[in-house]
């Protein structure tokens, strides 16, 4: 019986872990700790649109798994469509794609060093106190 319970417990743990790994958090370096964004606002921000707060988005490179999850869960478009959207925006002089940094730890480092910077990260990453989680999607 105890063996089964342990197994069940392990199962729950691994599912929880799996969910944490699939979750995406959006983190900002902002003095206003009360900011909470909606999914649509996060989408707008990372697609060059306007939201009520003055935040500068940074992104991960196209092949990065966190970016793939972010595209799927938040933006709702394939990487190919996002690339073609940015090509249209760039060559018609409308908008610029967010600056890209190499990996998740570079995102954290960039966020800590730049006020009003905002980026997305995997849900299980630990966030320093001076940064604020403004959006979470599981």
């Amino acid at each position: 019986m105890k063996k089964y319970l342990t197994l069940l417990f392990l199962c729950i743990i691994s599912f929880a872990k799996l969910e944490a790994a699939e979750a995406i958090i959006v983190v900002a370096n902002t003095s206003d700790k009360s900011i909470q964004l909606s999914r649509q606002q996060v989408r707008n921000l990372f697609m060059g649109g306007v939201i009520p707060y003055n935040l500068d988005a940074i992104a991960l490179p196209p092949e990065n798994q966190t970016r793939v999850l972010f595209n799927t869960k938040v933006v709702g478009l394939t990487e190919a469509r996002i690339q073609s959207y940015w090509a249209q925006m760039r060559f018609t002089g409308r908008k610029r794609a967010p600056k890209e940094v190499d990996n998740e730890s570079s995102v954290l480092e960039y966020l800590e060093n730049n006020i009003d910077a905002i980026g997305y990260l995997p849900g299980d990453i630990s966030i320093p106190d001076n940064l604020t989680v403004v959006y979470t999607i599981r």
Binding site: S38, Q40, Q41, N44, G49, V50, I51, P52, N54, P62, E63, T72, G76, L77, T78, E79, A80, R81, Q83, S84, Y85, A87, Q88, R90, F91, T92, G93, R94
Partner: protein, 400 residues
């Protein structure tokens, strides 16, 4: 030839500009280069017709192009952008397409001054960037209209969000003074008082765009003008009035798009109304739908073009004097030189995003033009065309 030379001169200037400025290490971050290229191959299955310039042989020279862009950040709020495009097609005006100063004090507001593409329709200012849209060839029934592509003037854009809605207003004002290219001739054209407003509203996965534009057009048609004066001297004022290549041209556009991870639907309706008799009225649309199975996208599309003139019947009596007969015959000849143009296009295509900045496309377009073919636009009857043909195309789209 001169057009190609002008492209190479502009490209060289742009490169020289970049080289001179990259000498200074500090400017590296301020100066950015980018570009786009298309290599498009096409073949039409009908020897009696041409479509989008393609005939019954494999051809690479119709839509292939190379574009280079340089952006230079002058300060936090100001930047300068130049873009040159070289077309393999002789009928396109290679050279400087964009050269403007941008003032952007925040994310919401942007003001651009200089030479820019006119954003009449959704893709009017990005037709050259094949990588930006799913089709290989934009639905020609909407996008093949021999308009003036660029203007010199100002464009302002303002964007704001209300809850989940993103609303963008764009307004422009300026002029155009250059040639437009019809298949049969190049026409000197002057447009003053060109202005327009566009609104784009985004809500979740939907985007709707509506626009209005207008311009006071003056098209150089010396022979027609002389003939019109002659008709007026004879008192045939209705016919003389109709032969008018000056006046207001108005553009209306409405597009509705939906897209998510799996599907997209894109549709656009356009209407053009011309004041002068020699300006055609246009009622065109397309509707396209696609399915994504990353990295592939398959799509189908249907588009319809209806370009028509309000031809006014001859008021010149026939059979009275030889002079009048010549006049009447000439008038009918002029009417015949401004024929209607109607067609439909049905597409089936595949886009393969092979790399983040490189896509391959294959497309089949079935074109039908049974009633009216003016030979000035995408469809050309080379003689005995039965009004139906299929265009097969392969393409590479690259941005860098």
């Amino acid at each position: 030839m001169t057009r190609r030379l002008s492209f190479f001169t502009s490209a060289l200037c742009l490169l020289m500009f970049s080289w001179a400025t990259t000498l200074n290490a500090e400017t590296e971050d301020k100066l950015q280069f980018s570009g786009f290229a298309r290599v498009i191959m096409g073949y039409l299955d009908d020897e009696n017709a041409e479509y989008v310039g393609y005939d019954n042989s494999v051809n690479l020279n119709q839509q292939s192009l190379l574009g280079l862009q340089a952006d230079y950040r002058l300060s936090n709020d100001f930047s300068m952008t130049g873009q040159v495009v070289g077309y393999t097609n002789d009928q396109r005006n290679s050279g400087l397409q964009w050269l403007y100063l941008t003032y952007s004090p925040n994310n919401a507001l942007q003001i651009k001054l200089g030479r820019q593409r006119i954003p009449f329709f959704t893709y009017s200012d990005s037709l050259d960037i094949g990588f930006a849209y799913p089709w290989l060839t934009m639905p020609q029934q909407v996008y093949d209209t021999a308009f003036f592509p660029t203007f010199d003037g100002a464009l302002a854009s303002y964007e704001f969000a209300i809850d989940d809605w993103v609303i963008n207003y764009e307004g422009y004002w300026g002029r155009f003074d250059d040639k437009i290219y019809l298949a049969s001739q190049d026409i000197n054209t002057k447009v003053i008082g060109l202005f327009g407003v566009n609104t784009t509203v985004g809500y979740k996965n939907f985007i709707v765009r509506a626009s209005y534009g207008q311009g006071d057009i003056d098209i150089e048609q010396d022979e027609v003008v002389q003939f019109s004066q002659l008709l007026r001297q004879f008192g045939f004022t209705n016919n003389a009035d109709w032969l008018n290549a000056n006046g207001l041209l108005q553009f209306y556009q409405l597009s509705a798009n939906y897209e998510d991870l799996d599907y997209f639907v894109r549709s656009e309706f356009v209407k053009v109304k011309g004041e002068g008799g020699l300006f055609a009225d246009v009622d065109n649309f397309y509707i396209s739908a696609g399915y994504n199975f990353y990295p592939y996208t398959v799509y189908v599309s249907y588009s319809k073009k209806d370009l028509h003139f309000d031809h006014i019947a001859s008021e010149i009596p026939f059979g009275f004097t030889p002079d009048l007969d010549v006049l009447a015959a000439t008038y009918l000849g002029v009417l015949a030189a401004f024929p209607d143009d109607k067609s439909t296009g049905t597409k089936l295509g595949l886009r393969w995003d092979w790399h983040t900045n490189l896509a391959l496309k294959a497309e089949m377009t079935f074109v039908q033009a049974k009633d009216a073919i003016s030979n000035d636009y995408a469809v050309k009857d080379l003689g005995n065309f039965d009004g139906q043909a299929v265009l097969y195309q392969l393409g590479v789209e690259w941005v860098f």
